[in-house]
């Protein structure tokens, strides 16, 4: 790459084809990843603004800026857009699409057309969801619980149809990733030499494929109930609202692992690369992803403890506890990786450390909620709201931001302003804790979730919570500012600025259109001896693995792992 100065710069995937149409018809996974990135960030912006409106309304008891009905619509749209349009597709479809084939040394995913179709479905589903904002926005809460959702006059059908379509976008991504990982691993990359990001995406893809159809049928049933007036869920018509909740959570609990598993994959990469140390407990981390995926299907009942029989409750409570074991396995392995590593406190690493802290709190408070006796008190309070924000925001969004900063130089070939990035990370971290720590406290004191009004005793907690939210907003606007600025005026990125050993760093930044001039041969993804830092260019040049290490690492060179079983 260093010789690129004397002749005209090589074209890359961003500039190889000009014009909007070349983007809208592209089959290139990198471009689709970027289009997904722009789309989900748009959704994040809309839903984030709605959150600001919710927090502003809650600054004072009673009316602050809007009436109660509008307030219900604000928090419903906030939740539904965040969950279905941002967090679920977030890491897999945006970052995953970009890095997955690169990490495999491949030219693309197995089914590029399906990939593009997934993006169009996202847009299509998103349009339905957003149209529902102007045609009497839903006010049911993001869970669309019946019977209220069959009775309310707001545009439930638009939103649920949107969710239905978004589900297919998610399934298509899942199919693509499962098949690509099975079939397109390069020579030398057995399952046990696959980057942990890919293990995360693989486990996620399995859940996407096997759980998402359930939300599809649930949304269809809800629509049928509203249009036909038969009550499979409505008790007034002989139905059972609990059935809706079973259906909904049978998808939506696994869906929280669609959100967190890829985040854990990102964190595994960030922690190892930026502490310059091979990952500790590779197999344990890889297998725990699969274990989490399997467990995720059998714990949905913990969302309904206050509605089911004692026996069912006990079973679901015990199962819920067992889910935390693989999560803990991962966390301890990450800590062991950090231990005595050469930690670089740059932005990706700061996000990774924030993740460990925040996700730790989120997971541990999940255990409180999984405990029956405690949950009866905490159910439907702000404690639950704080819990899931610690795991979804403190976990997934923070990991997404860390991954975005980690792969930004690769995606766009530019470096961002490190000082501003650290400042923004700090603002988001502080703002986040102020916002949701106060919600833990007021929740345990009994403040119910989704209420418009509250007694004065909760006043100061709500004010703090809103202040924290504004601080976060400043952090996010700052992030948007320096990232966009970097596209125009950022320092050019070298091929491998972090010294990572996964394959996506073995091509230009940004990559050429077909990814690699020659398919790179896979080394163990956390063997950092394959790189040597070049002080002249700031790049970590690939020098290949030292000979004696090849013997034990090349086990299974001919095997494609599980290939023979397919």
């Amino acid at each position: 790459m260093s010789s690129a100065t004397d002749h005209a710069e090589e074209s890359n995937y961003l500039n190889a084809k000009p014009g909007l149409m070349s983007w809208l018809t592209t089959l290139d996974h990198k471009r689709i990843g970027v289009m997904y990135l722009i789309s989900i960030l748009t959704a994040f912006f809309i839903a984030g603004m709605l959150a600001m409106l919710v927090r502003t309304e809650l600054l004072t008891p009673g009316r602050t800026i809007v009436d109660p009905d509008t307030y219900n619509q604000f928090f419903t749209l906030h939740g539904a857009i965040m969950v279905f349009m941002f967090i679920i597709p977030g890491i897999p479809a945006a970052l995953g699409n970009f890095v997955l084939p690169l990490m495999l040394g491949a030219k693309d995913v197995a089914f590029p057309r399906l990939n593009l179709m997934s993006w169009y479905l996202w847009v299509f589903g998103g349009v339905f969801a957003v149209v529902s904002m102007v045609t009497g926005a839903v006010d049911t809460g993001w869970t669309f619980y019946t019977p209220y959702s069959t009775d309310t006059s707001t545009s439930v059908i638009n939103m649920t149809l949107g969710v239905f379509i978004l589900g297919f976008a998610s399934i298509f991504t899942g199919i693509n990733f499962v098949v690509t990982i099975h079939k397109l691993r390069p020579a030398g990359m057995t399952w046990w030499r696959m980057p942990l990001m890919l293990w995360g995406l693989y486990a996620t893809a399995i859940i996407q494929v096997l759980a998402t159809p359930v939300i599809g049928i649930t949304m269809l049933l809800l629509i049928a109930e509203r249009t036909l007036g038969v009550g499979i869920f409505d008790p007034a018509l002989g139905g059972d609202p609990l059935l809706y909740q079973h259906f909904f959570w049978f998808y939506s609990h696994p869906a929280v692992y669609i959100m967190i598993l890829p985040a854990m994959g990102v964190i595994s990469e960030l922690i190892s690369v930026h502490s310059r140390k091979t990952i500790f407990g590779y197999q344990a981390i890889a297998l725990s992803s699969v274990a989490i995926a399997a467990f995720s299907f059998i714990v949905w009942g913990h969302h309904m403890f206050t509605a089911m029989s004692p026996m069912a409750n006990m079973v679901f409570s015990a199962l819920t506890f067992s889910v935390s074991i693989p999560s803990a396995v991962k966390t301890f392995n990450w800590l062991a990786t950090l231990y005595r590593g050469h930690i670089r406190l740059n932005t990706p690493m700061l996000y990774a450390l924030s993740f460990l802290f925040l996700f730790g709190i989120g997971g541990l408070t999940g255990l409180f909620l999984g405990t029956l006796a405690v949950d009866v008190h905490l159910h439907d309070t702000y404690f639950v709201v704080a819990h899931f924000h610690y795991v979804m925001f403190g976990g997934t969004v923070i990991a997404f931001l860390g991954g975005l900063h980690h792969w930004w130089p690769k995606m766009f070939g530019r470096m961002y302003n490190e000082g501003l990035a650290k400042l923004a990370c700090f603002l988001i971290f502080i703002g986040f804790n102020i916002t949701f720590m106060s919600q833990f406290i007021m929740g345990s004191l009994g403040m119910p979730r989704r209420y418009y009004d509250y007694i004065d005793a909760y006043g100061s907690y709500h004010v703090w919570s809103s202040i924290g939210a504004y601080i976060m907003a400043v952090g996010f606007f700052l992030t948007a500012g320096y990232l966009i600025h970097s596209l125009i005026a950022g320092k050019k990125a070298v091929e491998n600025p972090w010294g990572a050993a996964t394959l996506e760093w073995r091509t230009a930044s940004p990559p050429i259109e077909h990814n690699f001039h020659e398919t790179p041969d896979a080394n163990y993804p956390y063997d950092y001896s394959v790189n040597r830092f070049n002080p002249d260019t700031g790049n970590y040049d690939h020098i290949g693995a030292p000979a004696q290490e090849d013997d034990d690492r090349a086990v299974g060179f001919h095997g494609h792992g599980l290939e023979s079983t397919t």
Partner: protein, 208 residues
């Protein structure tokens, strides 16, 4: 996997965007695996609906509710017809594996005929039930029946359209023992439809 004849084909090769460099040839079996994963996903749709049906059924005191017609006997006929589809599509696949073009065409055509016949029979079933005053709006008994069978019928329609295209291609001699992904996928899909129906029908029978 290569024996299934779904090796490199236009479906799994990325069409060139910028010359030969972007062409990626997927290894054999990629299309089949992708299709199998898709079917796994679709089967969850049926499993969830069956679970919903069972939930409603178990909570019901009387099934079918008083004055409601039982399952139409002609469902047995539909079942036989659908099983026939499976047989013919299987024979079509065996034929093309032996490069028997005539056998391929004949068996595909029979699959098409029986598949369409199945839809006609289901429609007649619906009409009959509607005449005895059972529609999807009547009660949960009607709703779940139409839900399960309707979901399946929608998948049959979704299978007939590609089957028409595959039959058309077979007529023009596009397939060979080396290359017949369309036939492979069709066979997988119709076996899936068949399996799903047998399960649905069994559940409906046991339910009532």
């Amino acid at each position: 996997m290569t024996a299934s004849g779904d090796g490199p084909d236009p479906f799994t090769v990325i069409r060139s965007q910028s010359g030969p460099d972007r062409d990626q040839v997927n290894p054999p079996g990629t299309g089949t695996l992708g299709f199998a994963v898709l079917l796994a996903s679709l089967s969850v749709l049926f499993v969830a609906s069956v679970a919903g049906y069972l939930y409603v059924r178990i909570n019901a005191s009387q099934w079918p509710p008083a004055g409601m017609p039982g399952l139409p006997m002609s469902l047995w006929l539909s079942t036989a017809v659908l099983l026939g589809c499976s047989v013919f599509i299987h024979r079509a696949l065996k034929a093309i594996q032996k490069d028997d073009q005539k056998g391929l065409r004949r068996n595909l055509q029979w699959t098409l005929v029986l598949g369409s016949l199945f839809l006609v029979l289901q429609t007649l079933n619906y009409v009959g039930l509607a005449q005895s005053n059972l529609t999807a709006k009547t009660n949960l008994y009607g709703f779940t029946f139409y839900l399960l069978t309707g979901l399946h019928a929608a998948h049959v329609i979704g299978g007939l359209i590609p089957l028409i295209i595959v039959t058309h291609r077979a007529r023009r001699g596009r397939y060979s023992s080396f290359f017949h992904p369309g036939v492979t996928y069709s066979a997988m899909y119709w076996h899936f439809l068949d399996g799903a129906w047998v399960v649905l029908f069994a559940v409906l029978l046991i339910g009532s």
